[in-house]
């Protein structure tokens, strides 16, 4: 379960976010939408614990995973090591199983640079789900993909979310993505940005 209670987030003089309160229950998938530049990524970084400079309180489970806009892999380590180094307690066997699950089991020993863009995305998903996270954050994970590849990835992500059932929060611009993945949608709007209204899924 993720509990968010952000009173205020500033960059210098300008206030970006104000009074954002919501809960993502275990097993629930919530989409976060809003115009670009509104502060969605900023909010995700607060929730993920990457940025700790804000007023308020965020509770997140220890088992937290994140899928970034880019695959964000270690290009100097093999596909398998990209999982085992990030999850040292997982063991090689389960890491290999995670690669198998996303369909790149045969690529374990290749460097990310030797994988296609789609395979790199799959590896990023495998890394996120390998340790069966209790909470998952996705920051426009399929934004730069062509439509075919994007829907393939959405399908895979949905299957993985159904298997693992983490509390999932994801940012997207696409209504299709929001509709196909989420139980409900949160919308950021205003200046400083706050939650608009909660549309029922």
């Amino acid at each position: 379960m993720i509990t968010v209670d952000v009173k205020s987030k500033r960059f210098g003089e300008s206030e970006i976010l104000r009074d954002i309160h919501f809960v993502v229950a275990a097993g629930e998938t919530v989409a976060l939408q809003g115009p670009s530049g509104i502060g969605k990524t900023t909010l995700l970084r607060l929730i993920a614990g990457i940025d700790g400079a804000f007023e308020g309180q965020i509770d997140r489970p220890d088992g937290l995973a994140m899928v970034f806009q880019e695959p964000t892999l270690l290009p100097w380590r093999s596909a398998l090591q990209n999982i085992t180094l990030v999850h040292p307690s997982l063991g090689e066997e389960r890491a290999r199983a995670a690669l198998d699950r996303v369909g790149i089991g045969g690529k374990a020993d290749l460097f990310p640079g030797q994988l296609s863009l789609g395979q790199q995305r799959r590896l990023a998903l495998a890394r996120a789900f390998a340790a069966r996270p209790q909470a998952l954050i996705l920051d426009e994970p399929f934004v730069s993909l062509d439509p075919d590849l994007a829907s393939e990835m959405i399908e895979l992500a949905r299957a993985l979310i159904e298997e693992v059932r983490p509390a999932t929060l994801f940012v997207t611009h696409s209504r299709e993505e929001a509709a196909s993945l989420s139980d409900r949608v949160l919308r950021l709007a205003g200046q400083p940005a706050t939650l608009e209204a909660i549309a029922p899924g």
């Binding site: 964000t72 270690l74 290009p75 990030v86 999850h87 640079g113």
Partner: protein, 261 residues
């Protein structure tokens, strides 16, 4: 997918070797011509005339002994300067605050002539091994720090966020996320490091040690024995080139393996 470059790379490697050899032979030819024109073996002997003194110095054990002494000092100074420079550069590159405070020091030390540091170390610490190695290390640290700082400033913020979210341990993060990104900078610092350090070690030996290549050059300088000065310096250059080609360059190639894959 990028094309694999194995055959192409090995051909390029062979070309490099051929060019290097030809270039060195050209230098040798220039020496022979200069010696022939000068026609005074006291000032510049023919390359062949060095073989006799070289064999004698090897046979007496003097050359291997002094070579080893210098190499030990180079190794010490190299390891110390690289470790301290790496740590300092990393901290300065990652923390703008520390950088602001330490940067003026860096500029002072970068511009301090090697000779001054060597003389001061001998004066303050004494005419001993510690002083020589400290002097050389202090000479090299600012240089390594500057190069590593550039690398630390260029670290990828996305990978940093990734390491944070997945709670990678400090140790694992340093080894698998930071160091690989710094590898090209470390290699650059190491290569320029070795080249600079052995030159400074020779000066330190010249001024205040009773062993090492620098000491021998000092000795034969006083005797005005050009042949022996050349024998000692060329032997050491050969050893340092071997270190560069057999140790540093292969290590660098290994560290870059993932780029070519």
């Amino acid at each position: 997918m990028r094309p694999r470059c194995r055959p192409d790379c090995s051909r390029r490697f062979n070309d490099t070797v051929i060019v290097r050899l030809t270039s060195l032979i050209g230098l040798l030819a220039l020496w022979i011509i200069a010696a022939w024109i000068g026609n005074d073996p006291e000032v510049l002997p023919m390359p062949g005339a060095l073989l006799g003194p070289f064999r004698a110095e090897v046979a007496s054990g003097a050359l291997p002994y002094h070579l080893a002494m210098t190499l030990i000092r180079v190794a010490w100074a190299f390891v110390l300067a690289m470790s301290v420079g790496l740590a300092l550069g990393l901290v300065m590159g990652l923390s703008p605050r520390v950088d602001k405070w330490l940067d003026p020091w860096l500029v002072v030390f970068l511009n301090l002539p090697a000779l001054v540091l060597i003389v001061l170390c001998y004066l303050w610490i004494g005419l001993n091994e510690t002083a020589a190695i400290v002097a050389v290390t202090l000479n090299k640290i600012p240089n390594v720090t500057t190069i590593i700082r550039e690398g630390a400033r260029a670290l990828d913020p996305d990978l940093r966020a990734m390491g944070q979210v997945y709670r990678m341990s400090r140790r694992s993060y340093l080894r698998h996320v930071i160091l690989p990104q710094l590898a090209p900078f470390i290699a650059a610092a190491a290569r320029s490091g070795v080249a600079v350090i052995w030159k400074i070690v020779l000066v330190a030996e010249f001024l205040g040690r009773s062993s090492g290549i620098g000491f021998q050059i000092h000795l034969y300088f006083q005797l005005f024995d050009v042949a022996h000065v050349l024998v000692y310096s060329l032997s050491f250059i050969a050893v340092m080139l071997a270190v560069e080609w057999l140790l540093l360059q292969p290590w660098e190639r290994r560290a870059r393996r993932w780029r070519r894959a």
